[in-house]
Amino acid sequence: MTIGRTRSVALSGLSGHLVDIEADIASGLPALVIIGLPDASLGEAKDRVRSAIANSGLVMPPTRVTVNLSPASLPKQGSGFDLAIALAILAGSRDVPTESVASCVHLGELALDGRLRPVAGVLPAVVAARDAGASRIMVPAGNRAEAELVPGIEVIPVSSLAHAVRFHGVDITVHDVDVIEPPREPEPEPTQRDLSDIVGQPDIISALIAAAAGGHHMFMLGPPGAGKTMIAERLVDILPDLTPEESLEVTSISSLARVAHTSRLATRPPFVAPHHTATAVAIVGGGSGIIRPGAVSRASRGVLFLDEAPEFASTVLDSLRQPLESGDIVIHRANTSARFPANVQLVLAANPCPCGNAGVDDATCLCTPDRRRRYLARLSGPILDRIDLHLPVSRVRRAQLFDTTLPRVTTAEARERVANARARAADRWGFTRPDPLELRSGRFRLKPTAVRSLDAALDRGALTMRGYDRVIRIAWTLADCDGSDTPIADHVGRALYLRQGVPV
């Protein structure tokens, strides 16, 4: 009885666990048995491994082979264990040096001819292997660029099983094979859009800069053609570049979601705009077997834009409430759970009524008052209450379009203002933002004269306590954008208007 061992990585969500793979070459009739909670695609590994070994000029031991994936209670999915299983078997039959195989973590799916196919989620898997103390990891050559994004671990790209076996010290002929590359997404076209495309709406520009500076969620209400989508797209442009930590998180998510071929770290915040027919699972993530990140995780550290927000199913919108509050989302299934980041800046856009003409000059709304009311009532109170900036967006008039006296702010200028405002807030607050109580009555308490309008609104019942706290936060952001040390009455007044400006 001989045993070969190696390790691989099982992902659940973005976190990975090292999995020990042991192959017992026992006496008995030829059979390959895989145990340790494999799913269907992993169970099929036995047929891929058998063919790949035979077609690489190696010998599948003609005995009973039991492959155990440990910890046995952790559910394992996908085809990424193929390479590790094949090498554990070959190490068990002593065709490959056991120490070399045992000291390396292996990832990769085998093709029947022995070549290695790239797999999804290599980036988080390599990170997990490194964090668990592994010193080297073997990956399919097609995933090389992605794996090498992770510092602090030796990456060994191989193109086939024979190549892997030779790396471990066996004298075997390695035929030159075509490396199987992952499907390539076309390079994104360099964006032509600029903030200065938005004309005649200076209020919107300053609100947009405030949103970017303070990370405030935004709701835009306006008729079709007013430029709501255009504005939302430009919000992501004026956000600062991702920090190295955020960049790794964003790239890991896209690696896992297979939204793009990942060969370099994302540096810009993502912009995700799901269609309004999206299901709750598409938005928050899920799926049977492999749990995949949803739009809210793919947009993490960036902007999630929901156009035509009232058209979304109300359950879908309400499913966003918890991630908006906590910044991450835990998806539970019967046998497992997965945690994904969900740190999004939410932007909602809505027409004022189903026909879109309500409140527009020179246009007639054909909707009945009841229909109009029902339409916007679909945006539930709880979700709107979490949104700080409520912006009315109106159609641009010809006079505004050709008015050269109106200031035009370019993306570069706006990004600089956002960066300055953020630097100011970071100087004052450090890494942790103060809690509402501290803002209300602690050392950041505003002068009574500054908050007079706000107190009045609270007394009138026009504002909830949460709303009160949010307005103070917006006021601080506006003060940061203006470069003033503390919010004055004007900032509080503008903040109150931004929060309450749209009658819904």
Binding site: S27, G28, L29, P30, P62, T63
Partner: protein, 119 residues
């Protein structure tokens, strides 16, 4: 006799010789009943082994032992009981063995004996 059957006969002879050389007493060869055929019945001390022999010319199309399927094994199990009943034998232990031979009818390339291949 077809060429493949000749090879099979030859393999069974080789397997029998192998068992005898290893101290087994061959009790029966090619025993048939309505359920099928047992290639070799052999005894070692108090255990009786029912041996299925598979012979192939090369290993190119897989190891000969790979040809022994679960349904074949299930049949062997039934046959073992039938043989004991027919021969009024009671043994302390019975088991199913398999012998895989690669050879060309003259020389033996390899021979593998797996004992107790079920349960």
């Amino acid at each position: 006799m077809a060429r493949k059957d000749e090879l099979g006969r030859w393999g069974e002879v080789v397997a029998g010789d192998f068992l005898v050389a290893n101290g087994y007493e061959v009790l029966d060869r090619g025993w048939r009943c309505r359920h099928g055929e047992i290639d070799i019945v052999a005894r070692l001390a108090s255990a009786i082994a029912f041996v299925e022999v598979k012979t192939r010319r090369t290993g190119r199309y897989g190891h000969p032992l790979e040809a022994i399927t679960p349904s074949k094994l299930a049949r062997l199990r039934v046959l073992a009981g039938e043989w004991c009943r027919a021969n009024r034998v009671t043994a302390a232990a019975i088991r199913i063995d398999a012998i895989g031979i690669i050879g060309d009818g003259i020389a033996i390339g390899s021979l593998e004996h797996r004992t107790a291949v079920i349960g």
